[in-house]
Structures are given as structure tokens and as C-alpha cells.
Amino acid sequence: MLTARNSLGIVFFPAFDWAISPTHPEREERLLYTQDQLREEGVFDIEGIREFKPEVATREDVERVHFCIPSVETVATKSHLVSAGGAIRAARAVMDGEVDRGFALVRPPGHHAMKCVHGNRGFCNINVEAVMLEYIREHYGNKRVAIIDTDCHHGDGTQDVYWHDRNTLFISLHQDGRTLYPGTGFPMDLGGPNAMGRNLNVPLPPNTSDEGFLHVIDNLVLPVLEDFKPDLIINSAGQDNHFSDPITNMNFSARGYAMLNERLSPHLAVLEGGYSIQGALPYVNLGIVLAMAGVDYSGVREPGFNPEKYRQSAKVTDYIKDVSDKVRDLYFNPPPCPKDGEVSGDYYVRMKDIYYDTDGISESQVESVVICGDCSGTVKLETWSSVNPLSVGIEIPLDACDRCAGIGQRLLEEAHLKGSYRYVQMINRRDREYVQYGF
């Protein structure tokens, strides 16, 4: 009888009745073969591995994180709420001590969903990890958390949600944005003025293999975590770095994913992308499950895997060593202020244009954050898009100082008085007030 060294809770929710469209990569079939593999391997019979039924995230769970324009109901379908609710269930199992680790094997994904949501981009509507993490902070206290995103695409949504948060360290390992959607995620993007160095991007060249990923884990991620000392480590476990993935160009293997997970040792993992649904997902997910549970995964090998064939070139190796060293230095010695944006009075202001590829929406933003030495800083986000008129979101962070909290309340009053916003929303994390106006 196999026994897990770490007890593991798995929330498996394949949403067998939901697709973006019939032939879209994000379709009913996506986790079918993963389910077949996990069941055939008997993983749920391993002593210490338990399967949990997902919950449905509530509107409040989403409102705690996102400015949904015009409302949560219009941008998030039931499937998104179940996906986030699945992650919440996994988190609860870990936080309540039911299990040591949790893996939310859910779909649809969420890491491209930003702070402000007008629709679906990169198959994501709401940020599953962020909804889960803020649920944790709401119910279990203000934890210091590291999110390591190992999806092949830059986790631009999670980066955006936590851009100003000094208590959340976000590290994204991804295929270089010059060669892949969403085209962002460069080393100099280090977070907002109050949280410099809390956002790290590691763009990797195409054809990076197991060796390259593990180098970044050993030489950058682990030393940085050692310094940051998070209470919780979360892995955004996208699986599209796999050599067989149809929409990316990397050479990561199932065993490589398992090794990465073993070294990172996250408390919680959440499935993100990964669209090689027959050749990769069944094996990568099996590898991750076994690694998280501390069960021998050396027998996990996907058909067609040949380490020789997928070995990275010396040039790729050198490049990765270089970028890894550079980003580590940036964490320990960040520059004094962000490269984009400018100081305007008490605020640091930047403009952003965001394109929602799935829904074809164009959004523009003006984001102003209070420059503050004592907290993450209150944020004002003015937004307008091809589907919504000018609206505003104001967030008072969980760690807000009295000054920033006061500024947040004043900004809200001004937004009402100014009167030119179609929707006005407020996320007051400090006092747990979430309000929407404009209906």
C-alpha cells in the first residue's frame, strides 16, 4: 500500500460541460485524459491523498480582488466561480490542517485576469490564485505569500493584481514575451513604487528544457524565497512548457515538472494553462500529484520523451544563467523607482492599454498609487474600454496606513462628486468594505 509522505488534498474539477467554444483549447475534453490517468494510477487510493469537492466562489470572494466592470455577474460565469471555488476549497483544506498540501486541478484558468476585468483575456476572466489568496487573508490573517508562476505564458494578470502589494512576492517563469503571448514579463518590471522587487520576471528562451527550469529554481527562486520568508508558497502550475504543447515552444518534461515541484515544495498549486491534453497533461499532472504527496515519481514518463532530443543548447544554458543572476540581483538591489510611469504630487501614475484577445475588448487605464513608505499604498484605477465607459476603482490595501486609508475615502467622495464615472467601485481591504455604484 502506497503512503503519501505529505498528505495531499486534490480538488479535481474538469468542468466536463463547459467550453469557450467547441474547438477552443479550453474545452470539455481538456482534463478528460488527466482524469483517466489519475484514476487508472489509483492516486486517490494512496494513503494520505484525498479528493475534495469544489465550492462555488461567492460574489464577495471576487469583489475582494477585482474591479469587475460593470459587475461580477457579467464578467464571471458559473464555471469561473467554480474554478476559483475549487482553489478556495484546496486552500481551506490546507489552512484548516485537513491536509499538508493542496492541488486545485481546475479549469478554466485565471492568471491572465488583471485587477480590473472587462471580459476574457488569455482564456481567463477572474484570477483564481488571487481570489484564493485573498480568501486566505480574509479568513486566516494577512499572510506573507509567494506565488511562483510556472505557466509558459507570462502571468501578467497576477502581476497586475499584486503589482503594489509588498506582502506578495510574485515570480513568473515564462517563455520570452518577444516570442509568445501576452508579450510582456521582462526583468525590469519589478512592481510598483512601494513594492519594488516584489515582482520578478524570468523570460526564458524558446527550447528551454528541464535543466534550464531547474537552474532558475535552484539559483534564483529558492535563494529569493529564503530571503523573503513567505508563510505560504503558491504555484501557478501551468503545464504548457511541455515539449508537446501545441501553442508554445519549450522542452520541459513531466518528470521535470515533478522535480520543479519537489524543490519548490508549494503549499498550494493551482492548474493554469497547458493544452497538450493527451501527450502532456495526464503525465505532468500525475508527476505533480506524486511530487506534492512525496511519492516516488521516477516512473512517470510520457510517450515520446527522449532527454537527448530535448536537451537545451549551450547557448540557451548560458542565456538562462545570465538572466537568472540578473533577476536575483534585481530582487536584492532593486532600482529606486519603476521604469514606467512618473511621479505626480503624492502619486505615482502610469498608463496602460490592455487587449482582451478572447473577447476582442480594448481597455485603457490610468493607475495612480499613493507613494507611501508605511504600506502598499492606496490605488486609484481609472478605466474605459470598447465595452464600458469611463469608470473608476479605488483600493485601500489590507496593510493600509491611516493616511492611505483616509486618502482612499477621500478619493471615493471625489469620484462621486466629479460625477463623470459610469461605475464607481471600492475595495477597502483594511475595513472589509466592498461597494459598487452606478446601477
Binding site: F16, D17, E29, K78, E302
Partner: protein, 582 residues
């Protein structure tokens, strides 16, 4: 008339039930563990003194034979041949002394990734032969998608060219169940082969006795899922006969009472209380299968929970708290025992009827209470409260667990049916004593059926044949496969979910009619499609075909005069994903 015999741990019960559902004969004899046939014969003889053997139309037998053989390790050596491919190390599932693993791999769609290693297969066969192994289990990963490697192993075991094969029986993994679970497939196939000889010897003897007594009716064996299996089929699948005891009791209640709504069935015995749940017109079944010892299997079974509370449970006082069980010390003082038990507490309070010696109970309870400076009545009261609360807690946990079962569609998650029992049926020795207390604690109606002391045998008698099969179709590959029947068929690219459901239904009914004369006479067999899923398989952004999975069952239930049991409801619990190219 139907005969039911339940070979239990302590007693072997037998009943005869006539066409109208009346119990016309009962018998209770002690179970002789060393030779179960003795008990079966004694019970049968006893019943046949009360009714005429000529009138028996069906004989159903629930026996602990295979279970005991497994639990007590009285099994035969099995050559276990396993082909795994990548994944969890197959050494983790080693079972028995002759366990061999081979290179070779089949993937989740049934595609051969690596051929089976013929050389090591041959040497394993030779080794087994040398060691005198006569029965075998052949199991490969994903054999329910493609049994090719199991078939090759079978071939190698039974028809090696160089010597006369001495293999007498080979269990193939895919013939046991169409479900996915490789470790369970291994252990189930192993147990099936391990008890094959014992079971068949017993089956021969039982059939001999039955014919000797002049019964011409077919013999059926009770399974753990609340159904029976024709003895002819069970000879090849003896593992299906394990742990059928709770099933007999639950089906007994269903036969005795007109159970239609969600409810809980409690069998309170001397040592334990067994809890089962009836929902959506049938007993709730374990999602994958029952465990034997530490080995989970693919044997379909009712979901039951057993707690250590029974009439013979020992009373203890721990730091002033009164506890009951889980150990058994019975019989109770009032029936000649040496230590006070739960039954004595009931007796002290005047809740145990008139069979018991009240004075013995009073003396024992008072003595125990004296040691801890508690009023005897308070001790008795607290013991009974403790037992009732423990049962209530276990019932609530079991129902919560059933409702917390994972589901895989948004539809089911949001609108899935919840089990909400509002009634409990109680059987077993202390049933009457518990009835009103449980009703109060649970807040439900609690019923104690007539004949509850032989409900298990009645359940055995009245239970009808069940069968389940899985169908798997891949229109891209053009293949439909029903593992348990070994039916493989070429299909066109237009093969639909409806056709798959029809094929599943048709094959299930054909199998039943072929093996069970009673089923053959019926044209309204309660066949459910319990799962029906069709997925579009997309490659490079265009549809290649459909991946179809259907599971069909003959619902567990009782045969009776019209009303009885669970014929009413239709299609409950069916899992469907309407999308995907229906």
C-alpha cells in the same frame, strides 16, 4: 417460492418466501466455520421440512466463504502477471509470492506505446510452472481501453508451445470491471484467482446438495452491491461474492418495508452497528469498490459504515465519562454474561423487553456505578445516550460524505441531487430498544420491520440479479469496446452517444437473459444508464471524432409481488454532459 440463505458470522439463517411475499418458513442454525456446507445443509433441511422443494423457483445464497478464505489467508498461490508502463512503480502493488512485472505500455486512449516484453513473460510462465502455480491473474494498465496485453499474457500462460499447460484458471483484469483503477484491478484479479478453487468446490457441493434435496431451481449468489449473480457466472468471478452480509440485511429491509424515499438503514447487532443509505430508488454504492483488508478492490458494493456499538458492547467509565464499545464482551449479564453491556443498560431502564433477566443487569450496573460513585440509573442512562449519539454522529457523517462526493460537471455541482434522509429503518437484536431513542435523537421517523430477526435471509431470498457494464467508444479509432464482456466492435465515425447507450443496454439485457431464467421472463428489467458522456476530440483545432463513455446497470432491488422495492424511479443519478456532439 424463493429460498434465501444467509451464512453469517454467528448464525446461518434461511427463509422461504411465497409468491405473495409472505414468509412461509424460517430456520436459524449455528454457523460451522470449518465447513460452511454443513450450515447451509442444516438450514436448507430445516426449511424444507416446512415447505416443498418442488415449489422452489429460486435459491439465493449469501456466503462468507470467499471473504473468510481471504481474511484468514486460506487462498491458493496465484501467478500475478502485470504489465504497467510508465507511472507509479508497479512494485508498489505487489501481492502474493508470484508477482511478475513486464515492460510494455498502453496509454489512456488504448494506444500501444511499447510492446509487451515476450521474453520475460515466457520465463515467468516457466518459473510459475516449476513452482506448481495453477491459477493466474493477468493485468495490464489501461486494459479496459485495450486488452491486447492481457490477452497476450493469457495466451502465454495457457498455450505455451513447448509444454502441456498446467494453468487451470486465468483471471483477466478487464473481465472484472470496465472501471479505470490499475492497482485495484491487480488486487481484484489476484483475489479472484486466489479463491477460485475453494469457491468452485463449494459451488459443486452446494449444487449437489440442492439437487439432492429435490430443488430444481437455479442457484444465485448474493453480492455486496445489493444484487445476486447466477452461480454459473460466479464460478468465474468468485470475488464478487465477498462481503455480501450487509447487502443481505439492507435488501431485507427493502423487501420488508415499502422503501421509496431517501432513508438510512441500521443493522444493530451484538458487536457493531452497520449503516447503509438508500437514495434515488436504490442503495448508495461505493464509487469504486469495497476494500478487503488493506487492499481496495473493484468489487461493487453498497456504501456502508460500521461502528463499534452493539448490544454486547462493553460499558466503561473513563475519568467519570461513560463510554460504550467498541470492544464486545457479550453476552450481556442478563443473558448469562460476565460484564455489563449496552443491553444491560437498556434492561436497567426497562427498555429491553421481557426476555432479559432484569436483576442480573441491575446488579452489574450498580456494581460498575459504585466504583465511580455514579447513580446506577444515571450510568445506564448515560450509556444509552452515548450509544444513540454515536450512531447519530456516524449516520450524519455518512450522509455528509455521500453529499460531499466530487462531481465533474458544473450542472451537477450547482444542481446535483442531495441525499436527505428523513426516515430510518432499524433491524437486529437490540433494534426495538433503540427505536424510540433514535427517533428522538435523529428527529426522523424510525421503523422496525416485522421479521427483522431474519431480514438478512429475506433480503437474500428477494434480491434480484444485478449486473453492470461499461462501454467505451472512440470514433476516431473506429472502435467500441465493452471490457467485461470482451465485446469489441468496429464502429463508423457517426457512432453517437445514443447508439452507445443502446448498445450498452442491449448487451446488458442479453447477458442477463442468457444467465438468469427469471430475468429472461421479464421484459421490464430495470436498466439504468448511470453515466453517459461524449467528448469531441479535437486535434489541431478541428474535430477528429468522439470519445464516448457509457455505464449501464441493472439497478439493485427486490423481486416481490408488485410494489416492493425500487422499481418506480427512472434514471436517477445519471451523469450526462449534454455537449460534445450528441
Amino acid at each position: 417460492m424463493r429460498l434465501g440463505i444467509d451464512v453469517g458470522g454467528t448464525h446461518t439463517d434461511a427463509v422461504a418466501v411465497d409468491r405473495e411475499g409472505n414468509v412461509t418458513a424460517t430456520a436459524k442454525v449455528r454457523t460451522v466455520h470449518e465447513d460452511l456446507l454443513v450450515s447451509v445443509r442444516a438450514a436448507l433441511e430445516n426449511v424444507l421440512m416446512q415447505v416443498d422443494a418442488q415449489d422452489v423457483a429460486r435459491l439465493n445464497l449469501s456466503t462468507t466463504l470467499s471473504t473468510n478464505a481471504i481474511v484468514e489467508g486460506r487462498t491458493e498461490d496465484v501467478g500475478v502477471f502485470v504489465s504497467s508502463g510508465p507511472g507509479v512503480d508497479p512494485e508498489s502493488f505487489r501481492i502474493g509470492r508470484h508477482y511478475y512485472t513486464f515492460e510494455g505500455s498502453i496509454d489512456h486512449r488504448g494506444e500501444e506505446v511499447a510492446a509487451l516484453d515476450g521474453d520475460s513473460l515466457e520465463s515467468a510462465v516457466a518459473l510459475c510452472r516449476r513452482e506448481g502455480v495453477r491459477v493466474f491473474a493477468a493485468v495490464s494498465k489501461f486494459s479496459t481501453r485495450n486488452p491486447a496485453h492481457e490477452n497476450i499474457m493469457h495466451e502465454a500462460i495457457t498455450s505455451d508451445g513447448t509444454w502441456e499447460s498446467e494453468a487451470e484458471f486465468v483471471t483477466l483484469g478487464h473481465r472484472i470491471s470496465g472501471m479505470l483503477n490499475f492497482p485495484r484491478r491487480i488486487s481484484t484479479a489476484y483475489y479472484n484467482a486466489a479463491v477460485w478453487r475453494t469457491f468452485n468446490a463449494f459451488a459443486d457441493a452446494v449444487e449437489g446438495s440442492v439437487r439432492h434435496y429435490g430443488i430444481k431451481a437455479p442457484v444465485n449468489i448474493l453480492k455486496a452491491d445489493g444484487g445476486t449473480m447466477p452461480l454459473s457466472l460466479c464460478r468465474g468471478l468468485p470475488v464478487e461474492s465477498i462481503l455480501s452480509g450487509p447487502s443481505a440485511s439492507v435488501m431485507g429491509i427493502i423487501a420488508l418495508c415499502d422503501v421509496v424515499e431517501d432513508c438510512v438503514i441500521l443493522d444493530i447487532g451484538g458487536t457493531t452497528t452497520d449503516i447503509a443509505v438508500f437514495a434515488a430508488g436504490a442503495p448508495v454504492i461505493e464509487p469504486e469498490g469495497i476494500s478487503v483488508g488493506s487492499y481496495p478492490t473493484l468489487v461493487r458494493a453498497m456504501k456502508t459504515r460500521s461502528i463499534g456499538i452493539g448490544g454486547d458492547s462493553r460499558l466503561r467509565v473513563v475519568r467519570g465519562d461513560v463510554r460504550v464499545g467498541p470492544e464486545r464482551v457479550g453476552p450481556p449479564l442478563c443473558m448469562g454474561g460476565t460484564e455489563p453491556t449496552l443491553m444491560d443498560a437498556f434492561n436497567y431502564l426497562g427498555l429491553a423487553g421481557t426476555l432479559c433477566d432484569r436483576e442480573e443487569s441491575e446488579r452489574g450496573i450498580a456494581k460498575l456505578a459504585g466504583l465511580w460513585d455514579i447513580f446506577p440509573e444515571a450510568l445506564a442512562r448515560r450509556a444509552v445516550d452515548y450509544a444513540v449519539a454515536a450512531i447519530r454522529k456516524a449516520v450524519e457523517e455518512l450522509v455528509a460524505e455521500i453529499n460531499a462526493r466530487p462531481v465533474y460537471t458544473i450542472m451537477e455541482l450547482l444542481e446535483g441531487r442531495k441525499v436527505r434522509p428523513r426516515k430510518a429503518y432499524v433491524m437486529g437484536g437490540p433494534a426495538r430498544a433503540f427505536q424510540s431513542l433514535l427517533a428522538e435523537s435523529l428527529g426522523w421517523e424510525v421503523e422496525t420491520p416485522r421479521h427483522y430477526e431474519v431480514a438478512n435471509a429475506i433480503g437474500a431470498a428477494m434480491t434480484r440479479t444485478t449486473q453492470v457494464l461499461e462501454l467505451f467508444a472512440d470514433t476516431d479509432k473506429g472502435v467500441m469496446f465493452i471490457p467485461v464482456l470482451d465485446i469489441e466492435k468496429r464502429i463508423s465515425s457517426r457512432y453517437s452517444l445514443e447508439e452507445a447507450e443502446r448498445d450498452a443496454r442491449r448487451n446488458l439485457i442479453a447477458l442477463l437473459k442468457e444467465n438468469d431464467p427469471e430475468a429472461a421472463r421479464r421484459d421490464d428489467l430495470p436498466v439504468d444508464i448511470v453515466e453517459a458522456q461524449s467528448f469531441n476530440m479535437v486535434g489541431d483545432f478541428s474535430t477528429l471524432g468522439r470519445n464516448i463513455r457509457v455505464k449501464a446497470q441493472v439497478r439493485p432491488g427486490v423481486n416481490g409481488p408488485g410494489r416492493r422495492g425500487s422499481n418506480g424511479k427512472n434514471g436517477n443519478g445519471t451523469v450526462r454532459n449534454g455537449k460534445g456532439g450528441r
